[in-house]
C-alpha cells in the first residue's frame, strides 16, 4: 500500500521544480504538465520500491520525453544556422527569452543535458546516470548544446 502522505509531501516539496523541468524539456506549457503527471504517476505506482524518488522522477521525465520525441517530432528542428539575436542592446528579459527560444531549437538529448546540468544542477556523472549515457557523451553533448545557445562556458563549467 503506497504511503500517500509521504508521496504528497514529496510532490509538494519538489513538484514545482519537476513541473518546470518538464516544461523546459518539452518547450511547451501544457505538454510539460502532461509529462510531469506521467512521471509522477509512475513514481506513485512504484513508490514503495523506490529509494531515491527525486532521481527516479527526473529519469522518468527525461525517458518519457525522449520516448515521445521518437514517436513524433513537435516541429522543432535543431538548426545549423542559428538565427540572429534581436538587438545588441537586449535587456535581461529579452536575453532570457532568446535563450529559451534557442533552447527549444535544441535536439531532445541536448535539451535534456542542459536542463539536468543547468536547471537541476546535476553533476556530469549524475546527468550521465539519468540519461543512461557515458560521461564523455554528456560532456560532448553539453558542449555542443552550449555552442548552439551561444553561451560562454565558464572556467570549469557547471559542477
Amino acid at each position: 500500500m503506497t504511503d500517500n502522505a509521504a508521496f504528497r509531501a514529496f510532490v509538494e516539496a519538489n513538484g514545482a521544480v519537476l513541473l518546470h523541468a518538464a516544461r523546459l524539456l518539452t518547450g511547451d506549457h501544457h505538454r510539460g504538465e502532461d509529462l510531469v503527471q506521467t512521471a509522477l504517476t509512475r513514481l506513485y505506482l512504484k513508490w514503495d520500491g523506490v529509494d531515491a524518488p527525486l532521481a527516479y522522477t527526473r529519469k522518468a521525465l527525461v525517458t518519457a520525453h525522449i520516448d515521445s520525441t521518437r514517436r513524433r517530432w513537435w516541429g522543432e528542428r535543431p538548426t545549423e544556422v542559428l538565427p540572429e539575436v534581436a538587438s545588441a542592446a537586449a535587456t535581461d528579459v529579452e536575453e532570457r527569452d532568446e535563450l529559451r527560444r534557442l533552447l527549444s531549437g535544441l535536439a531532445p538529448r541536448e535539451r535534456a543535458v542542459i536542463v539536468l546540468r543547468y536547471y537541476c544542477d546535476l553533476s556530469e556523472q549524475d546527468t550521465a546516470a539519468t540519461l543512461g549515457m557515458p560521461v564523455g557523451t554528456v560532456k560532448s553533448t553539453c558542449s555542443r548544446a552550449l555552442s548552439r545557445l551561444r553561451v560562454e562556458a565558464g572556467v570549469g563549467g557547471a559542477r
Binding site: 500517500n4 508521496f7 504528497r8 510532490v11 509538494e12 513538484g15 514545482a16 521544480v17 519537476l18 513541473l19 518546470h20 516544461r23 523546459l24 510531469v36 503527471q37 509522477l40 504517476t41 506513485y44 505506482l45 535581461d92 536575453e95 532570457r96 535563450l99 529559451r100 533552447l103 542542459i114 536542463v115 543547468y118 536547471y119 552550449l146 545557445l149 551561444r150 553561451v151 560562454e152 562556458a153 565558464g154 563549467g157 557547471a158
Partner: protein, 267 residues
Amino acid sequence: MSPSEFQLRAALRDGEGDGVDPDRIISSALRLQLRRHDRRVRVLAVAAVIVVISGGAVGIAALNGSTRESGGAASAQSRTAAAGAAAGGADSGGAIPKASSPSSESVGASGGAVVPSSPLPGVTCPKTPVSYELPGGGGTNQFGADGPLFAEPVAAIAVCSYPLGAASPTPLTGTAATALARKLELEGSSSPRSGPYCAGQVRGELLSFTSDGTQLRPVEITGTCTRVELTNGSAVRYVSLDLFTQAGVKFIPAGLTPGKVSGSPKR
C-alpha cells in the same frame, strides 16, 4: 556578448513556481492501476479459454487416434459394412460389423460353415462376405491405408472363401495363424502389384482372433488369382494369392471361364 552560464541558469529558472496537485496524481495513478488490472484479468481469461480449447482438441485427437488403431474405424460415416448377418453394424469403436454367433450365421444349403473338427469351434462364415465402402473408392491414397490390418496380435484365423464350400472356413491357429497375419501385414504392399492375367475372381473374408478370443475387425478379400486386395475398412494391403496357398488356405476363383472375368471388385 554571449550569455554566461549564470545567465543561462537564470533563464532556465524564469517562470518557475507552479506546483503540482498530488491528489490529482494519486487518482490518476489509481485509475491506471485499475485499467491494468482489468486488462490482466481479460488476458488471463482469454489464455484460459485457449488452454481449455487446445487441451480438448488434443484429447479428441488422441481419442480418435486410439480408436483408429483399434480397428481402423475412425469414422463410421465414411464406410458402411455390408455384413452378411444383421448384427452389429460398424460402430466407432472399431467393432466387428457382424456377430459370429452360430445361431444367426449358419450357411445355407451349399455346405456347412461350421467345421466340427475345426480348432475354432463356433466360428462360422457369414452368408455373404463383408464389403467395405471405402472413402473415395478406397485404394492407397485413402486416409489410413497404411494403418495396421490387424489391430492386435493374432492368435487364430478363419478364412472364409466364397462361394462357401466345405473348405470354409479354413482355420489356422498357433504359429500358422501368426505367421500368415505377419506376412499379410508386413509383406503386403500398400500399392497394387501387377501380375499375369488370371481369369477368376477370389472373394473371401478373413476372421481373426486374439489369444483371449476377441474377434478383430473382419478383413475383406477380393481380387484375382494373382493379386489380392485386403482391407479392414481403412488399411489396405495387396498380396499374392500364394501367401494364402502356402498357408493352406484354398480359394476357388469364381468365373473360371477362360477370357471372362465374372463381375468386378466391389468398389
